[in-house]
Amino acid sequence: MTTANDLIHLPAADLAERLSSGEVSSVEATQAHLDRIAAVDGDVHAYLHVAGDAALERAAEIDRLRAEGDAGLGPLAGVPVAIKDVLCTLDMPSTAGSRILEGWVPPYDATVVRKLREAHLIPLGKTNMDEFAMGSSTEHSAYGPTRNPWDLDRIPGGSGGGSAAAVAAFEAPFALGSDTGGSIRQPAAVTGSVGVKPTYGGVSRYGAIALASSLDQVGPVSRTVLDSALLHDVIGGHDPRDSTSIPDVWPSMADAARAGRRDGALKGMRIGVVKQLNGEGFQAGVTQRFTEALTLLEGAGAEIVEIDAPNFEYAIAAYYLILPAEASSNLAKFDSVRFGLRVNPPGGGTVEQVMSATREAGFGPEVKRRIILGTYALSAGYYDAYYGSAQKVRTLIQRDFDAAFGRVDVLVTPSAPTTAFRLGEKLDDPLAMYLNDLTTIPANLAGVPGIGLPIGLAPEDGLPVGIQFMAPARADARLYTVGAALEQILEDRWGGSLLSQAPELAVATAGGTN
């Protein structure tokens, strides 16, 4: 007999098996997650919108299909999933964490959302995020911050703090995120979960509200490497509606993750430690766990090589020119004319005045800061010095990756320089906040895939530490193999998942879920 408590703690893969065998119903699994959300989300605030009735309705439909012996059900049929609010959903508001889109329900589904539905997953709701994915703490959400399930006074990372916290707080087995400079991997690191930024073009961006088009990529967040792989298999692949989507046929990421669980998966694997992304500037406990993880990898037969990537040093500077430049243009459409918030200045006004008043009221300070930065970086007379130079740096970083992947199979870095910091700690210091994505940004600039997974708790604060692997473009499968292999070694040592060590959250309703 599987209890409701079991249901929320099961990895998606295991839940899918029990659904498939008929041991549990999708309605039960969905209800268990909705109950958990009701119990803990008042504190965590991972969700901006919970679609309880629609989820239960859809779950009942999947159960009915299964009872009728429908052979067309996908392997994840009936499994609940959370969706970052940056993704367009037909039946739920899609705000990207911004006041300017409050209540906006798109007339279409993002391609990845359509694929989730076609694979018979159950969308539970939309998760919180920094406004337009600008931030590393989810404190820039217009709807209030999300809190880290490990310590409610700390940030869950960002911009996808909602998806990571939902998964870490057992409010969803897995979730969709988006990663422009680390928005999947950094929250995964600080919440003890797994997150993957696929190869640029590996997953459709159609219906993902754009931050920086040349950097954005949708990806999975989960508690296990296999679950991310399963979700990746659902959402990945070519989309004719996204011109930057790669027309290749992809190998099964789930198979790659399962291969990682076999003995000897790491034997002979060459793993490069990026000199520039290790040591100085990293929290002691982060470095300690990272070094231990390298030892474990070596012990499993991998060869550890130091890699010099000299241009990585300029990655943050280049990123904070390219991102704001693209964002300033992408966010121009929020002008009140066709959708979203409209603010009329007192006594009415011209269309320019209405646009201006709307943007003044609808955008938060971080969004305004980046629009101004980007507008400046693209201006005549400054373009070459800023945007132009940043693009050159980007090319140099891509060359560093090419050179590195000539020597090693994957690169490895800590996922983030520190563990979760306290709410409010870096809110007044944008530059300190920007440094949080130090290790994750290079992958976005080069378009290569990256996976983040937990490697233990930092001794000084007892908070999760993450490791990041990066592979050449299109070699996403390799990341799942390496990630799953290390996960297996660590869980064997810990006797379970890291998240099973997370403190119990207080439950809001009498009776709770236990």
């Binding site: 990207a96 011109s243 002008d335």
Partner: protein
């Protein structure tokens, strides 16, 4: 607004040399839009031919229309341009409510076609080579309607409506290099250039090219250089010039206006100017400077356009006959004199004529109708002849004349009916009952009646005074309310005199 001072055209040309430049926008007639799968159809209920992409909804992404790329390459080749192995789209950023994303996807520093030239012919047969800097792809904006206020312009309007049906319609913008040496031919050259571009896109079949519908739009840049100084003046860009005739008039007007200002010691403001068809004047629009900052950057949502060499060669091989060669061929086939042919070309009716001939009409008859009655009616209405009737309708009209069903006089009435939308020529003939009475019995009855009224006529004819028949013919035609063939009536009258 006080009527601006204008300098006499000849005087202006004595003092200044006009320097020209044109931007011609061609709307491509692809099935779907430039970056979305919405129908490429501007018209119908506002905001119906749209998708999330055309509205710039959050999350939507553009996808390049391959047909538009092919059309653009063909046009580039027809303009004698090189086709870029790799060209790129860029974003042109500015806020305006007809622009759904508040940026236009266009091509900036990497256009699909560059460096070409077009030969245009002036009315007297001289040829002039217009240098082409580039032709690039972009998307059209939506259409704003300003409601309230007296001018229909944004100034003074109470509110504005936006129709995004046109948003995303594929455009090619053809940009000339600076054109020197047009001198006093400048107005005529402008018209001839736009007319040639129209001929080219029509021959390629890539645009409907109806200027009055905005399928083909010309922005004319003009500045005056003090004669012999070699110093370039400040230019104005006249927009909204929507007929061949207007292109000529607008250039002429700007030369006269700028010359008056300059000779009085004034300066020309660099600005866009709006052409007003009704007053034949331009008025100041938005100040425009080279410092306008559109913050162009490469469109990150699209990959570079990289047509294969095979595709380019395939399209080159499929290019239709160049308009200049075609003109030479048609002139020979039709057996027109230089004057006759130039008349047709200069009235911009070559294609109409060719299609009318292709539909079965005799070349001379086609010429007569297009450059005669139809041109007169178009001129009176202030529209292009091609917007009044189709070549098929004209061919049918001519066929009815040849068959004796209509006289020229009746045909003119039928033409009016066709223009009024009463149907095809045959339908108008039926509806208005305009056919020639070809029944000799009816004619003879009318003739006998007329002869009875003028008994001396037959005798005069028999005496050899054949012109006396005229009085009877006139009476018969009057009795038949014009619906008789006067030549046949004459024959019958003469027969009666035998």
């Amino acid at each position: 607004m006080a009527k601006p001072e204008l300098m006499d055209f000849d005087k202006a040309l004595e003092l200044y040399e006009p320097v020209l430049g044109f931007e011609v926008h061609v709307e491509l007639n692809t099935a779907t839009k430039m970056f979305s799968d919405a129908p490429n159809y501007f018209g119908g209920e506002p905001n119906t031919n749209i998708t999330p992409v055309d509205l710039g909804l959050p999350g939507s992404l553009p996808v390049v229309n391959e047909q538009a790329v092919r059309y653009s390459i063909s046009l580039g080749l027809a303009l004698g341009c090189s086709i870029a192995e790799s060209s790129r789209f860029a974003r042109k950023n500015y806020f305006y409510p007809d622009l759904a994303k508040n940026y236009q996807i266009s091509q900036y520093d990497e256009p699909i076609a560059y460096r070409g030239s077009v030969d245009v012919e002036l009315e007297d047969g001289r040829s002039f080579t217009i240098p082409i800097e580039r032709a690039h792809m972009e998307e059209d904006a939506g259409k704003l309607t300003h409601v309230g206020g007296s001018t229909g312009r944004i100034q003074g309007a109470e509110y504005s409506l936006v129709d995004y049906n046109r948003a995303g319609v594929p455009l090619v913008e053809i940009v000339t290099d600076i054109i020197y040496g047009a001198d006093r031919d400048a107005p005529e050259l402008a018209k001839a250039y736009v007319s040639t571009i129209r001929d080219i896109v029509v021959s390629l079949g890539i645009s409907d090219a109806r200027m009055e519908r905005g399928n083909l739009r010309c922005d004319a840049n003009i500045s005056l250089s003090p004669r012999g100084s070699g110093i370039l003046g400040t230019r104005t860009e006249t927009k909204n010039v929507n007929s061949l005739r207007s292109v000529e008039r607008a250039i002429r007007y700007e030369i006269q206006r700028q010359a008056a200002i300059l000779s009085a010691g004034g300066t020309i403001t660099q600005e866009t100017r709006h052409w007003h068809e009704d007053t034949g004047r331009t008025s100041a629009g938005r100040p425009k400077s080279d410092a306008d900052d559109y913050r162009y950057f490469p469109e990150p949502d699209l990959l570079p356009v990289q047509p294969s060499a095979e595709l380019i060669e395939e399209l080159r091989a499929a290019l239709p006959e160049a308009p200049a060669l075609r003109r030479r061929r048609l002139k020979g086939e039709w057996g027109f004199t230089d004057l006759e042919f130039r008349d047709v070309v200069n009235s911009g009716l070559l294609n109409e004529l060719a299609e009318t001939v292709a539909a079965g009409a005799a070349p001379q008859a086609a010429r007569k109708w297009w450059t005669g009655e139809i041109a007169r009616l178009a001129n009176a209405a202030g529209v292009d002849s091609s917007s009044l009737v189709t070549p098929q309708q004209v061919a049918e009209l001519i066929e009815l004349i040849e068959a004796g069903t209509l006289t020229d006089r009746l045909a003119r009435q039928v033409l009016e009916g066709v223009i009024a939308g009463e149907g095809t020529p045959a339908e108008v003939v039926d509806k208005r009952g305009l056919a020639v009475v070809s029944d000799d019995t009816a004619l003879l009855a009318a003739i006998d009646e007329a002869l009875a009224a003028q008994p001396d006529v037959l005798a005069k004819i028999r005496d050899g005074k054949v012109q006396a028949a005229g009085a009877v013919i006139g009476a018969v035609m009057k009795a038949m309310r014009g619906q008789a063939d006067a030549a046949r009536v004459r024959e019958l009258v003469l027969e009666r005199a035998k």
